[in-house]
Symmetry: C2
Amino acid sequence: MRMAELSRESGVPVPTIKYYLREGLLPAGERTGRNQARYDEAHVRRLKLVRALVDIGGMTIAGVREVLDAIDEPEPSLHHVLGVAQHGLPVLAADPDPAGRDWAIARVEEVAAEHGWELKEDDPVVAALVGVLCVLRDLGNTVLADRLPDYADAAERLAEADLGILDGLTATESIVEAAVVGTMLGDAMLAALRRIAHQQASARRFET
Amino acid sequence: MRMAELSRESGVPVPTIKYYLREGLLPAGERTGRNQARYDEAHVRRLKLVRALVDIGGMTIAGVREVLDAIDEPEPSLHHVLGVAQHGLPVLAADPDPAGRDWAIARVEEVAAEHGWELKEDDPVVAALVGVLCVLRDLGNTVLADRLPDYADAAERLAEADLGILDGLTATESIVEAAVVGTMLGDAMLAALRRIAHQQASARRFET
């Protein structure tokens, strides 16, 4: 298909597709003339994946490129791709104060010990969690930080079954892609559901 | 305190503070001279809140302003502020195709019926959830969409206890702020924990 049809099929505007081509997020089409190229279903699919990661996952272009590079490796390791998909969590710009940081790390270690989790010190996801706890403490909102064990229980229950999903898939490529999509879109699904549940609980409590 | 000290106390650079002042995210200080103003602890606190919403919550400046306006109302209604904090969820830029949309709405209505949730049709959070499901379907990843009931259970369990936190607070202002912070930072806490749990489950499964 031509560029115009690729745009229609994927729902992505032509200038955006050209931008993704320049940024290396989309492989070049098969050249058919001086200014023309032909694209196929793989391009449509890749465009949809990029949009999902950018729009719903809130990933940066650099983050998406890193994930796609991992997916496109000849023999992608699922564990490696999952590792890459872990990045892109928001982190606080400013360094937390050391006292807050020590306090937060102690809370995370407590929860990790309860669940038998082995955390790596330089893990960006652990750093993101520590950052969230530091901010909560800094804002005087330690009651939410106190619920860390409940949140960890919920996360663990979901994660076990999330990994189970992958057993149902066959081709390596689809497993890797499903893992990335599941990580990013699962966050979005859970955030929306948690807010709906808040709304309902709030309406029951505060409205008459 | 002067601007320089406000910057030190809050960890926010002076140019950023000036930007927030211009954008109305921070009330003006008490004018003490031609180019000088005095700030107090309330400014430090407000700056930390803005940073948390922007850095961790990923909110836009417009979104933060809307939340702060609701917090600053003379008699803020918790239910209203919670409503405002619901916004800012990522939504897909392109409209989903109608068949996908109908399918997604049916799934959401099923889960809502199970939980006794009363959803409003024009609710942006419901739209965000429908959008996520449409993308999953479009990417052929309906196995994660099939886990919607599990995710809804987890969200409901967390939300009930989240609302319980508010009972422990006293001043209306702190309740409203805690609700906003809890909504935004709770998402981030849960996303980080879910990824840590994925890592652990993945390491157990795929590494030897």
